[in-house]
Amino acid sequence: MTGLDKLIITAGYSSIAIVGMTKNVGKTVTFNYLVETFEKNAVALGLISAGYDGERFDRLTLKDKPRIYAPKGALVVTAKACFDAAAAELELLESSSFSTPLGAVLLARVKQAGLVELAGPGSVFALSKLVAKMFDYGAGYVLVDGAINRLASASPLLTDGTILATGAALGPTMDDVIKKTVFRCNLFMASALEGEMAEAARSGLEAGNAALLHRDDCALRIEPVKATIPLLAGAQLIDRCLRETEALVFGGALVDKNLIEVMELYPIPPILIVKDATRLFISPELYYRFINQGGNIKVLDRINLVAITLNPTDPCGRGYDPQMFLERMEEALSPYPVFDLVFETSNYR
């Protein structure tokens, strides 16, 4: 045991998202590792994918992929065609209203352990409905396997805890991999607002899909902005900025353009507020410039990053010495625990 499962249990998380920095960084390896350890602890598991997992080969590189072995008693969510083709014996519990190109999304219980392919519904809304269903059917823990570089399943609306998988496939050099991973962790670390400003931001988003918070004397004055989508409302914020504006609230995505405009307007920018870190679509260069200029990004709901897992090899190219890679990553990502689950190493205690 490396302690990854212990971390989850101690923190009291019951739904875990496994998201990756890109393809082939070991999301499914981490997923399988957790399936195995939780099974040993005799915990009923719910297994679902935000994409497609357990496939026989990679649809792009045609290389082998890790399969998914579902233990007896586990609950699985998958599309009809995968249900029919599963090597594991599955008992149908319920058919959901969600659909994929491989048929309706079904909820099943594993009668006889074996391999399954998990094809999930893509949307966070559908995933959250199905995760809740699995808890209703008695799952103790639900694991949501991610897809490619999609992070939406880390949304606090869906899961309590998030594990980030990263690895050699992310970039041409180890430094590059570290830089990109640290950036993502920095975004995940964005702290949650509390008190007066959090309340003001929330009520601003109830009245519109973006808002400005101005400081009048002592109190905060809320100016909601409404447009067809939050992105367009966010773009209008800049024209309404005042000297006494203390924060800008974005109801949807925060994009590079927002950062550029705010940095041009203010020597020291107001606080930028988003719902959670999955709404951040900003590039590292601009982010660090913004931070250096005294900027601050806050979230209403924080993503709980449990740990980072590593894959030191890129199936399409280079690989690093696992021990060295782990040490470099631990140093860069401290205080977050870092694991290499294949070599079963971590300095985390």
Partner: protein, 254 residues
């Protein structure tokens, strides 16, 4: 002779003879040594009695071979299970009738080549009025309103335009190479629509030479179309899925 599906072998002249033809190039100059090298490769591949029928000098020290051999391997066909997509393909008329009768309004489709991609051949074949291979494009469908936004459209712009136009479906065309750029551009649209709270209000469909339904699911799209797709395949999917969602009320979420 009955075929033993538990042990299927390649077929040449007689059942289960295992015969197969392979061709490949070796980076060695043409000659007897090259021929022997080719024979040894074939043996290592599990081909018995390899017979080289063609050896051609490719120049610059390369040699091309065609050879026959008997493959010693077999597969258990009865144990193979492949998840398959099931979709009924309707023709031009049927799609329009379905939309008219079941939805009672025009279906709005917005299409683009996104990010840095300028390969519009695929999306044009699906959208343009004149269509492709004898099938009219979506612009010709009387029950559809199709907008082709062209190439190199940023994801945020595509999303904003789609909302403005009241799109039922967004079609994205992308040449996915092994480099992850295009892939991550496809996932960004999904993530952006999720962040904007639009993911359940619009069908996201991707297409391109490397795209399959499985990859589409992995990317977070509702459907994906690969090579050989005709406009009515896409139209059938959109019409049928909108009808299904109308019935289950899945879309009334926002």
């Amino acid at each position: 002779m009955a075929i033993d599906l538990g042990k299927v072998k390649t077929y040449g002249d007689t059942l289960n003879d295992g015969a197969m033809q392979v061709s490949f190039t070796l980076p060695v100059p043409v000659g007897d040594e090259a021929k022997e090298a080719a024979r040894q490769i074939a043996l290592k591949m599990g081909l018995e009695s390899p017979a080289i029928t063609e050896m051609a000098d490719l120049g610059a020290g390369f040699t091309f071979f065609v050879l026959y051999g008997k493959c010693t391997h077999s597969v258990d066909f009865t144990a193979i299970k492949v998840p398959k997509q099931q979709q009924r393909i309707l023709n031009f008329k049927e799609v329009n009738n379905l939309i008219k009768n079941e939805l009672g309004r025009k279906v709005v489709v917005v299409a683009a080549c996104t990010g840095s991609d300028a390969h519009t051949v695929g999306i044009d074949a699906i959208i343009n009025m004149k269509g492709y291979m004898g099938e009219y494009g979506l612009e010709r469908y009387p029950e559809m309103e199709a907008y082709n936004l062209g190439s190199q459209v940023p994801n945020a712009e595509l999303l904003a335009r789609a909302v403005e136009l009241g799109a039922d479906a967004i079609l994205v065309s992308q040449v996915v190479t092994q480099k992850n750029i295009h892939l991550e551009n496809l996932t960004e649209l999904v993530e952006l629509s999720e962040a904007e709270g639009l993911r359940d209000q619009v069908l996201l469909i991707c297409g391109g030479p490397r795209i399959s339904h499985e990859l589409a699911i992995e990317l977070g799209y509702d459907a994906g179309f690969g090579p050989g797709t005709l406009p009515n395949h896409v139209a059938s999917y959109i019409a049928a899925e909108l009808k299904r969602r109308k019935k289950t009320g899945k879309n009334d979420t926002a």
